[in-house]
Amino acid sequence: MSASRFRRTGVIFAATLAICAGVLIGLYVTLYLEAGEPQAVAAKMTGEHEASLTLQTVAEVGHGENNFWVSYYVQNPQGKWVHSTIFHLPAHSLVHVKVLQYDGDSGLRNPLWGQPRGVVGKTMYVNGKPLKVLNPELASHTFAIPELGVSVPLEGVEEEAPNQCESAPCGLEKAHNTIEFTFHTGRPGKFRWQCFVPCAAGFIFGFGGPMQSIGYMDGEVEVS
C-alpha cells in the first residue's frame, strides 16, 4: 500500500468515526431531552368552548428516581392517569378543573394565596361546598397560572385521616379532598403554571427539587 493511499484510507476512517460519534452523541442528547420532557395531555372537550381537566396531587410519587417528591398527575381524555404537568387547553373557552388532593395540609407561605382568583364566580368548591377563601393554614398546594390571573388554594388532607395514599396515582378510595373551579382561558399562548408552596422547605432540596421541576409542581399550559 502506497503512503498516499494509506493516508487517504486513514482520513476516510477518521471521518467515518467522527460522523458516527456525532450521530451517536446527537441521538443520546435528543433521547435525553425527550425523556426529560413530560408528555403533553389535552383537556377533555365537553362542548364547543368548554373543556374539563382532572388533576391529582400526591404526597409522594412512590416510585422512580424521585419517589419521595410531591407531584401533580393529570388524567388524559381516556381516563388514564399520566405523570405530566403540561396541559393543552382550548383558547377562549371555559375550563372546568377538578383536583383530587391527596396530600396533607402544610400551610401557605404567603397567606394571600388563600383567596381564589381568576375563577368564575370568585368561588371554588371543596367537596361540593362553595368557598370564597381558604384558611391558609389548611392549604397543601396551590394551582396558579399567574399570567392568566388564576390562583386557587388546595385544601390538604387531615394528618389523622385514615387510608392515606402512599403511591401515585391514587384511587378515589384513598383519603382526599376534591377541589373544583372554572376559569376562562382567553387568548392562545404558552403559560407557566406552578404551586406556590415551597415543597421542600426544611428538607435537603430547600426551595428546589419538585418546586423547580416541570413534571412535579411546575408545568406549562399550552392554550391553542
Partner: protein, 288 residues
C-alpha cells in the same frame, strides 16, 4: 530638536486632530440634546431622570473618544494603504514619546477622576430618592429630604411572584403595584423564600429582596404610565416570568384603586399576618 518641535504632531495627525475637533464640536452637543432624552431608563421618576442625566454625561464624554478612534481608523485605512506594486517594508521603529505619553496619561487621569467624583456625588439621593436599595437603616445623609412623609409600600418577593403591602391602608396586600404620581415612595423590599431583586427599570428602582431583611429604596414617580416590575436576581425555574404590572396614576385614581382592592381582597384580609418589616414563615413545612 527643541521641545516645540517635539510636541508638534506629524501633518497627518494634525489633520486628524482638526477633523476630530470639528466633528466632536458638532456631534457632541447634537447627541446630548437630541439623543440624551431618549437614553434609558427614561424619566418616569426623579431617580430615572437622574440616571438618564448620568448616562447623557457619560455619552458626552465618550463620544469624542469614539470619534477619535473611528476617525483614526478610517484615515489610516485610506491614507496609509499600500499603493499597488509598492514594496512592503517595515516602518521606522517606535520608541517612547514622552510628550504623547504624558498627554495620554493626563487626559485619561482627568476623565477617570471626573467620572469617579461625578459618580460619588450622584450616589446621594438628593430630595427625591436615588432608587437603589440602601439596606434596612439608610444613613441620614442618604435619605431624601421628606423621607418621613413618603408613602410606604412593602415589596414581598416569593418564587415566582411579587406582592405589595400598603401599611398606611390597613396592611392591604395586592398582586399589582399602583403608585400615586408626584409622591415620594419608600419601598420596603423583602423576601419570604430565596433572594430576589425588585427592579423597575422605568422608575430606576432596584433593590435586593433578601429573606429576613428590610431593604429600603426611595423614588418619586413623575409620569402617569404603566410598566413592568421584574426580578433581577436569578431565583429559580420561573425567574424570567417573575413580573408584575406597575401603574402610576393620579392621587384620586390611587385612592379609588385602594378602595376597590380593599373590597377585592376582603375575604383574605383577616388571615394576613400583621404588617411587619420582614416575615419568617415556618420553614419546616413540607407541602407542595
Amino acid at each position: 530638536m527643541n521641545w516645540r518641535d517635539k510636541l508638534r504632531p506629524a501633518p497627518a495627525i494634525r489633520r486628524i486632530m482638526w477633523i476630530w475637533l470639528v466633528l466632536s464640536v458638532i456631534a457632541t452637543p447634537l447627541v446630548v440634546i437630541f439623543v440624551g432624552p431618549m437614553l434609558p431608563p427614561g424619566s418616569a421618576s426623579d431617580a430615572a431622570h437622574g440616571q438618564q442625566q448620568d448616562n447623557t454625561v457619560m455619552v458626552g464624554i465618550v463620544l469624542p473618544i469614539i470619534i477619535a478612534l473611528l476617525l483614526y481608523f478610517g484615515y489610516a485605512l485610506k491614507t496609509f494603504r499600500a499603493k499597488p506594486g509598492e514594496e512592503q517594508t517595515d516602518g521606522p521603529p517606535l520608541r517612547g514619546e514622552t510628550p504623547v505619553m504624558v498627554a495620554w496619561i493626563a487626559v485619561t487621569f482627568v476623565i477617570v477622576l471626573f467620572l469617579a467624583t461625578w459618580g460619588a456625588y450622584e450616589l446621594f439621593p438628593g430630595e427625591e430618592g436615588a432608587g437603589g436599595g440602601m439596606g434596612p437603616t439608610p444613613i441620614s445623609v442618604a435619605l431624601p429630604a421628606d423621607a418621613s412623609s413618603a408613602l410606604p409600600v412593602q415589596v414581598i418577593g416569593q418564587q415566582w411572584a411579587w406582592t405589595y403591602r400598603y401599611p398606611t391602608y390597613g396592611g392591604l396586600e395586592t398582586t399589582e403595584l399602583v403608585l400615586p404620581v408626584d409622591k415620594l415612595v419608600r419601598f420596603n423590599v423583602t423576601s419570604i423564600d430565596v433572594i430576589h431583586s425588585f427592579w423597575s427599570n422605568q422608575l430606576a428602582v432596584k433593590a435586593d429582596a433578601v429573606p429576613g431583611t428590610n431593604n429600603v429604596a426611595f423614588a418619586t414617580p413623575v409620569k402617569i404610565e404603566s410598566s413592568t416590575v421584574r426580578c433581577a436576581e436569578l431565583c429559580g425555574l420561573w425567574h424570567g416570568h417573575m413580573t408584575s404590572p406597575i401603574h402610576v396614576v393620579s392621587q384620586a385614581k390611587f385612592e379609588s384603586w385602594i378602595t376597590a382592592q380593599q373590597q377585592k381582597w376582603a375575604p383574605i384580609a383577616k388571615y394576613l399576618p400583621k404588617y411587619s418589616k420582614t416575615y419568617a414563615p415556618e420553614p419546616t413545612y413540607r407541602g407542595g
